[in-house]
């Protein structure tokens, strides 16, 4: 086996130009795939983080039927006490908070805008969302009456500044129209144009007052220590509680789940294109290499080398070249992703990204599977691509091959 390996290794060093072309092809293929994927993962990750850190959390608990028909009257009438007790004793839960969620109309002297009104627990909300960190002007909610914070885009549309008053008009739990005057006390800027232009945050008490919910709340939003642990907690909370609707972030925002699936499909397509091209490259180079060595192969067969061993030799050569190319490609990829740890500035394209809840600076992200999968597929590709030339080689007749010019 040692000599076999030695022959394979030396054979790939015989035609250095040809081997270099193949190594570079494999390396560029791997580099292109992993870099593209790292950017896609980065975008996906940011999209999930933005969504979960804004208003989604990892899990939301509502009264049954809320998501199909999110009326203000569908409330957790006990004010969330039943679930709070369970969440307090759950180690996988990082934080949770109560909200009253409704839709309404905000009117300023300049404009009226329909939007989502989120009544939040000013103290606990920063533990489940990034809203406090996004404040760019004025202050975050302090718990006082008539405070509100809005996104920069909404403020511009309404033509309001810090300290200006606006009127909230909405339907209360009894179906009556209600209106309340509040003051803009903070303006935030997130990476999502949807949130910046369509959300108004007020204190939970204020919200209860406007909508007449009393002690009841619309939702409990939960943030987990690990995103993945939302699934078991969902199952636990849902069990024997038909009056509750417990939904995960990806169920609440199916678009993100769709984007994740799309990313997986894009990854698969990338891999397919790159590896098909790689397979042709390997097969072609190996074929040329065999054609150059017909006599030598004939001699090996004449000396008693079994056809299985010959097959193995040629496949080893193809796989060895691919290993070198893969190692170089992945090393370059790691280096480049490491160098871009501060992120890549896509500000020239950020308007488009913001519509999807993604900022203009994307940090490329490489997952372990971004290495494992390409390595595995490369090796499989090398094996399959070398198999064809190898099968041609073992069909050579030693008597003819030893006389080949």
């Amino acid at each position: 086996m040692l000599t076999l390996f030695r022959i394979a290794l030396r054979n790939i060093g015989r035609n250095r130009r040809r081997t270099s072309i193949l190594v570079v092809t494999v390396a560029i293929g791997l580099l292109g795939t992993t870099l593209s994927m790292s950017l896609l993962w980065g975008i996906e990750q940011q999209m999930i983080e933005t969504a979960t850190a804004t208003d989604l959390g990892h899990l939301q608990i509502h009264a049954t039927g809320y998501n199909a028909d999110p009326k203000i009257s569908r409330l957790l009438s006990d004010g969330g006490k039943e679930i709070d007790g369970l969440l307090d004793g759950e180690p996988s839960v990082q934080a949770y908070s109560h909200r009253i969620r409704s839709e309404g109309l905000v009117t300023s002297p300049k404009a009226s805008v329909g939007l989502r009104i989120l009544g939040v627990d000013a103290e606990r909300e920063p533990e489940v969302s990034s809203i406090k960190n996004w404040i760019v002007e004025g202050d975050y909610l302090s718990g006082k009456r008539r405070e509100s914070i809005v996104g920069r885009r909404l403020a511009n549309r309404l033509g309001v500044q810090i300290g200006d008053k606006v009127i909230i008009s909405a339907q209360d739990t009894q179906g009556n129209m209600t209106a309340e005057s509040i003051r803009i006390t903070g303006i935030f800027r997130s990476v999502s144009s949807d949130i910046d232009s369509g959300y108004l945050f007020i204190n939970l008490d204020q919200s209860a007052h406007i909508f007449g919910t009393h002690e009841a709340i619309s939702e409990i939003v939960v943030v987990m220590n690990e995103r993945q642990s939302a699934l078991p907690l969902q199952a636990k909370l849902s069990m024997n509680r038909p009056h509750l609707e417990v939904l995960r972030w990806d169920q609440l925002r199916p678009f993100i789940a769709f984007m994740m699936d799309t990313t997986q499909s894009v990854a698969a397509s990338f891999y397919l294109v790159i590896f098909v091209a790689m397979a042709f490259g390997i097969a072609n180079v190996m074929m040329m290499s065999i054609f150059d060595r017909v006599r030598e192969i004939g001699v090996m067969l004449a000396l008693g080398m079994s056809r299985t061993r010959l097959l193995l030799l040629i496949i080893t050569e193809g796989v060895l070249v691919t290993i070198i190319g893969t190692a170089i490609g992945l090393a370059l990829s790691l280096g480049i992703v490491g160098a871009l740890s501060e992120g890549v500035d896509f500000s020239f394209y950020s308007a488009g990204f913001n519509d999807f809840g993604v900022g203009s600076r994307i940090v490329p992200l490489l997952k372990p599977e971004d290495f494992i999968l390409p390595i595995a597929i490369s090796m499989l590709t090398a094996f399959m691509a070398s198999l064809w030339p190898a099968l041609r080689a073992v069909q050579l007749q030693p008597a003819e091959a030893t006389r080949h010019e």
């Binding site: 040692l2 000599t3 076999l4 030695r6 022959i7 030396r10 054979n11 015989r14 006599r295 030598e296 001699v299 090996m300 067969l301 004449a302 000396l303 008693g304 080398m305 079994s306 056809r307 299985t308 061993r309 007749q397 030693p398 008597a399 030893t402 006389r403």
Partner: protein, 231 residues
């Protein structure tokens, strides 16, 4: 008992519908310890017969027996096995593996036989010494002369301790001094170690050394002679 035997062997090549009769019913027996040459002009069927005897090709009809075993009854893997253990080859164009040095070329056959690395190295070293190339062990084929390469080829051929060595025009690419030295070496191996040699050649130097000469013409054995070669 014969080592190699052919019975009414015929071989026809077919190229683009044109059939060429290379061998036309050859009966031949090679016994252990022979130093025999297949002689004859180009196209007489020497190489074809050697290829059939070496299990490198199959006859169109007739039988080739190695150790009284009909080669036609063997699978491809079994034929490889017989070539590896019972036959040694020396080719006209040396045909060493270019990426391996002299010692590794000799070791190659030993490794195919499954001999352990330490023993392989030791035997390769002894064999190179036997053919007078101990100092060339680390040299690769392009760094050696034709004569040296052919000596390595002889060392490789005897490495597997075969029953017979088949040498196809072994001196064709060598000058007469180098050819003579190579033949002396082969003769020495034949006389001292009893190694059986079967050559195909029309080189008078080979025919002079051969104890038995089989003359082929037009795919048939025209005659044979033993003893001193008369030009």
């Amino acid at each position: 008992m014969s080592i190699l035997r052919t019975v009414a062997v015929q071989k026809t090549y077919s190229t683009r519908g044109i059939e060429t009769q290379a061998l036309n019913g050859v009966d031949l027996t090679i016994e252990a310890g022979e130093f025999t040459a297949l002689a004859g002009p180009s196209g007489s069927g020497k190489t074809t017969l050697l290829n059939l005897l070496g299990a490198l090709d199959v006859p169109t009809s007739g039988k080739v027996l190695l150790d009284e075993e009909d080669l036609a009854s063997l699978t491809s893997a079994e034929l490889s096995e017989r070539r590896l253990h019972k036959l040694g080859f020396v080719f006209q164009a040396y045909n060493l593996i270019p990426v391996l040095n002299a010692a590794e070329n000799v070791e190659f056959v030993l490794e195919l036989q499954g001999i352990k690395p330490h023993e392989r190295r030791q035997r390769a070293s002894q064999l190179l010494e036997r053919v007078g190339l101990a100092e060339m062990a680390k040299k690769r084929p392009p760094e050696m002369s034709g004569g040296q390469q052919q000596r390595v080829a002889v060392a490789r051929a005897i490495a597997s301790e075969p029953q017979v060595i088949l040498a196809d025009e072994p001196t064709a690419n060598l000058d007469s001094t180098t050819a003579r030295n190579l033949l002396d070496l082969m003769q020495q191996l034949n006389q001292e170690e009893g190694t059986t040699f079967l050559f195909s050649s029309h080189d008078p130097l080979v025919l002079e050394k051969a104890k038995r000469r089989i003359l082929l013409r037009d795919g048939l054995i025209e005659g044979e002679e033993q003893g001193p070669y008369k030009t």
